[in-house]
C-alpha cells in the first residue's frame, strides 16, 4: 500500500467514524435549539435505537424498513417521555438542574437496557451489504457511504425544518426566549417535548446505522455521546451544518492522528481539541451570535 493510498484510507476511516459523531451531534443541536441545555442522554438514545432494532428485526421478524421506522418512533417516544415526565416536572428553567436530570436519565436508561436486553452485546445485519468500494488502493464500505448519505440528508431536512417551516420557527422562538414564546401563545412545553422526540429519533437513526458495523452493548452510547458532544462544540454548538462539519472534522483528524502519530493518542486528541475550542473559540466553527438565531 503506497503512502497516498494510506492517506486516503485514513481519510475514509475518519469519515466513517465522523459521520456517526455528526449524527449524534445533530441530536445535541436539536435540544440546544429549544431547551438550550446539553442532553447527556443523547448517546443512550443511540444505544436504545440499536436495541429496539434487535427486538423488532430479530425477535419479532419485522422487515428492515418497518422495523427501522418502529425503532425510530420508539426512541422518539422515549425522548418525548423523558422531557414530559422528568424535565418538565422539575418546573425550572435552570439549565444546570435540567442537565443534571439528563445525566440521571442517561444512567437510568442504561439500567433499563441491562434489565430488558441483558448485558451481552448484540448486532443485526445492515440494510445494504456488498463488497467494499476500492479506490486508489484504499477501501470504503457501503455501510460507511450510507452513514454519510443519511447524515447529509438529516442535516438538510433539519435545516429546512428550522428555517422554513412554522413549527421549526416556533421551536427556535422557544429557544430564544421561552417567556416571550409563551406570551405570544406558543405551547412551550409541547414544543420542548417535540424537540426531545426529534433528538430521540435522530439518536435512533445513528444507532440503526452504526450497530451493524460495531455491535451494541448497553454502554455503547457513552463514548459516542461524548465524541458527538465534542463534535457539536467544534462545529459551533447548536448549528446543524456545524454539527456535520464538526463531526467529520473530528473523525478525520482522529484518524490522521491515529495513523500518522500514534493510535494511543486518538482519544486524548479528541478531548484536547474539545478543551481548546472551549477555551479559545467557544462559538466553534459555525457558531452564531445570539441575535442572529431568530
Amino acid at each position: 500500500m503506497s503512502e497516498s493510498s494510506l492517506f486516503l484510507q485514513f481519510l475514509f476511516s475518519g469519515l466513517t467514524a465522523g459521520a456517526i459523531y455528526a449524527l449524534v451531534a445533530l441530536g445535541f443541536c436539536v435540544v440546544e435549539n429549544s431547551l438550550r441545555i446539553v442532553n447527556f442522554a443523547q448517546g443512550d438514545f443511540l444505544t436504545l435505537g440499536g436495541f429496539f432494532m434487535t427486538t423488532f428485526l430479530l425477535s419479532l421478524k419485522i422487515p428492515w424498513p418497518l422495523a427501522a421506522l418502529c425503532s425510530i418512533l420508539a426512541v422518539g417516544l422515549c425522548g418525548y417521555l423523558l422531557e414530559r415526565i422528568a424535565l418538565r416536572s422539575a418546573k425550572t428553567h435552570d439549565p444546570l438542574t435540567l442537565i443534571f436530570i439528563t445525566i440521571g436519565a442517561s444512567i437510568f436508561i442504561r439500567g433499563l437496557i441491562k434489565l430488558f436486553w441483558g448485558k451481552n452485546p448484540r448486532i443485526f445485519p445492515p440494510l445494504i451489504t456488498g463488497e467494499p468500494i476500492r479506490l486508489l488502493g484504499a477501501s470504503l464500505t457501503r455501510e460507511s457511504l450510507l452513514i454519510l448519505a443519511v447524515g447529509f440528508f438529516c442535516v438538510t431536512i433539519l435545516h429546512l425544518f428550522y428555517r422554513v417551516s412554522r413549527s421549526g420557527k416556533a421551536l427556535r422562538a422557544v429557544a430564544y426566549s421561552p417567556r416571550a414564546a409563551a406570551l405570544i401563545g406558543l405551547p412551550v412545553g409541547f414544543l420542548n417535548s417535540v424537540s426531545f422526540f426529534l433528538a430521540g429519533a435522530l439518536g435512533a437513526v445513528a444507532g440503526l446505522l452504526i450497530v451493524p458495523v460495531t455491535g451494541v452493548s448497553f454502554d455503547t452510547g457513552v463514548i459516542l455521546g461524548l465524541k458527538g458532544y465534542a463534535a457539536s462544540v467544534l462545529g459551533g454548538y447548536g448549528s446543524f451544518p456545524g454539527a456535520i462539519a464538526g463531526g467529520l472534522l473530528l473523525g478525520v483528524m482522529e484518524a490522521l492522528v491515529a495513523g500518522f502519530i500514534s493510535s494511543g493518542f486518538r482519544d486524548v486528541f479528541a478531548f484536547a481539541l474539545l478543551f481548546c475550542v472551549l477555551a479559545i473559540k467557544p462559538s466553534g466553527l459555525f457558531g452564531t451570535h445570539e441575535e442572529e438565531r431568530v
Binding site: 485514513f10 466513517t16 441483558g118 458495523v213 460495531t214 494511543g264
Partner: protein
C-alpha cells in the same frame, strides 16, 4: 378437636425442620464476587452461575466431609474500589474461609494486597497475569488464578506459527490493561520462537473503526496478524481486515473464542484463528484426552440440567469458575476449613483434571496450566474447528 390435631401436626412438622437443621453441620462460607453489572458483566454473570452450579453439585453429593458449601455473593461492578470494599466485608464480617473471583484484572490487582494481608486464599478468574506475579506486583502467596496466563496463550499462537513456518508478524493490541499485557508478552516471546514483529499498532477498545491501524501494519507485508483485545472490538478488527482485503491470517487472543464473536463479526470471522480452552471444540478432541469426559459432564450439566446455555452460550471462559471451586473443594476435603492449611493444599494441587486444563500448581506457578491445556481453533463456516491440538 380437629383444630388441635392440625396444630399438633404443624408443631411436629416445625420441630422436625428445626431439629433437622440443627443436626446438619454448619456450612463452609466462601466469598464469591464477580462483575455482575458494569462493562464486564457479560463475563461476570455467567461466571457466577457456573460457581453456583459447581457448589450445588458438591452439596448434592453431601458437601465437604458432611458440611455444605455456602457462597456469599458480591457484585464488584468491575470497579476496583467496590471490589476492595466487598473483599473486606467477606473477610471481616462474613468471615469466609476463601474467596473466588473477581472478574477483571484491575479489580483483581486492587484486591490482591487485601487478601495477602488478611491471609485469605483467593482463586481469581481474571485474565491478566500480574495477580500471580511477584516483584513489583507484590506478593502472591494467597492468590491463585484458574484462567491461562496471557503468556501461555501467546506461546500457543507462536508454536503454531513456527510449525507453519510463518516468521513475519504484525501485532494490534488494545490500549486497555488486557491489551497492554498481551503486547508485553507478544514482544517479549517473539525472539524465542524466531519471529519478527514487523509492525505494531494500538487501538482503543471503544473505537468504531480500526482500518487506519490495519492499513498501516499491512504496508509492512506481515505473514500473520495477531490482535489482542476482548469484547466487540475484536469483531470490528475482523471486519476491517476483510474490508481492506488483507490476505494474511488473523489471530485473535484467547479471550474471544465465544459464539458471540461469530455473531458480531459475521462472515468476516471466516478463517480467523485463536488459542482457546478445549471447551470450544471438545467433541473433536481425541478420546485419549483425559479432559474429554470431564468436559462432557460439565457441558451436560450446563446445557441440559441448569439450562444456562440459552442465556449464556458456552464460551472459552465458562469453565474457569468451575475449576476454581473444584480446586478449592479438593483442598478443603484434604485439610478442612483452615485458611493457612488450605493455602498450602491449593498450592500442592497436582493433576487436577479440570475443564480448562490439567492443573499442576506449584509455589512458583499459581496458575498451573501450560500450553498443552490450550488448542488452536479456526472458524470454518461459522463453526469452531479444532485446528491444532
Amino acid at each position: 378437636m380437629k383444630k388441635c390435631g392440625l396444630w399438633g401436626l404443624v408443631s411436629i412438622f416445625l420441630f422436625l425442620i428445626f431439629s433437622g437443621s440443627l443436626a446438619a453441620k454448619e456450612p463452609i462460607k466462601i466469598g464469591a464476587f464477580f462483575a455482575l453489572s458494569g462493562p464486564a458483566a457479560f463475563i461476570g454473570t455467567p461466571t457466577k452461575l457456573v460457581a453456583e452450579m459447581a457448589v450445588a453439585e458438591i452439596n448434592k453429593k453431601g458437601g465437604i466431609n458432611g458440611r455444605p458449601l455456602e457462597l456469599v455473593i458480591g457484585d464488584t461492578e468491575g470497579d476496583p474500589s467496590k471490589a476492595v470494599a466487598i473483599a473486606k466485608r467477606f473477610i471481616y464480617k462474613d468471615k469466609v474461609v476463601a474467596i473466588i473471583g473477581p472478574t477483571r484484572t484491575g479489580t483483581g490487582m486492587a484486591v490482591k494486597p487485601i487478601v495477602e494481608a488478611a491471609r485469605v486464599p483467593t482463586i481469581m478468574t481474571v485474565g491478566g497475569d500480574p495477580v500471580i506475579m511477584g516483584g513489583k506486583f507484590g506478593s502472591y502467596r494467597y492468590v491463585f488464578k484458574t484462567p491461562q496466563r496471557s503468556s501461555t496463550a501467546v506461546r500457543k499462537i507462536y508454536q503454531y506459527l513456527k510449525k507453519k513456518g510463518l516468521t513475519r508478524i504484525a501485532i494490534l493490541t488494545a490500549t486497555d490493561g488486557f491489551g497492554k499485557d498481551g503486547r508485553k508478552w507478544l514482544k517479549k516471546l517473539a525472539p524465542e520462537y524466531g519471529l519478527t514483529i514487523v509492525a505494531e499498532e494500538a487501538f482503543n477498545p471503544r473505537d468504531t473503526d480500526m482500518t487506519a491501524q490495519l492499513a498501516k501494519v499491512w504496508k509492512e507485508n506481515p505473514q500473520a496478524l495477531v490482535a489482542w483485545t476482548i469484547g466487540p472490538a475484536g469483531a470490528i478488527v475482523a471486519k476491517n481486515v476483510k474490508q481492506l482485503g488483507i490476505t494474511a491470517p488473523l489471530f485473535q487472543c484467547h479471550g474471544l473464542p465465544d459464539p458471540k464473536y461469530i455473531e458480531l463479526a459475521g462472515p468476516a470471522s471466516e478463517g480467523n484463528l485463536m488459542p482457546s480452552t478445549k471447551l470450544m471444540a471438545w467433541e473433536q478432541l481425541p478420546d485419549t484426552d483425559p479432559q474429554k469426559p470431564v468436559i462432557a459432564h460439565f457441558v451436560h450439566l450446563y446445557k441440559e440440567v441448569y439450562h444456562y446455555d440459552r442465556r449464556f452460550p458456552i464460551n472459552t471462559h465458562s469453565g474457569y469458575a468451575w475449576d476454581a471451586i473444584m480446586i478449592l473443594a479438593r483442598a478443603l476435603e484434604k485439610v478442612g476449613p483452615d485458611r493457612e492449611k488450605l493455602r498450602e493444599a491449593i498450592e500442592n494441587t497436582k493433576g487436577y483434571v479440570g475443564i480448562s486444563g490439567v492443573y499442576n500448581i506449584t509455589p512458583e506457578d499459581h496458575n498451573g496450566l501450560d500450553e498443552s491445556s490450550m488448542i488452536i481453533v479456526k472458524i470454518v463456516k461459522g463453526h469452531w474447528v479444532l485446528e491444532d491440538y
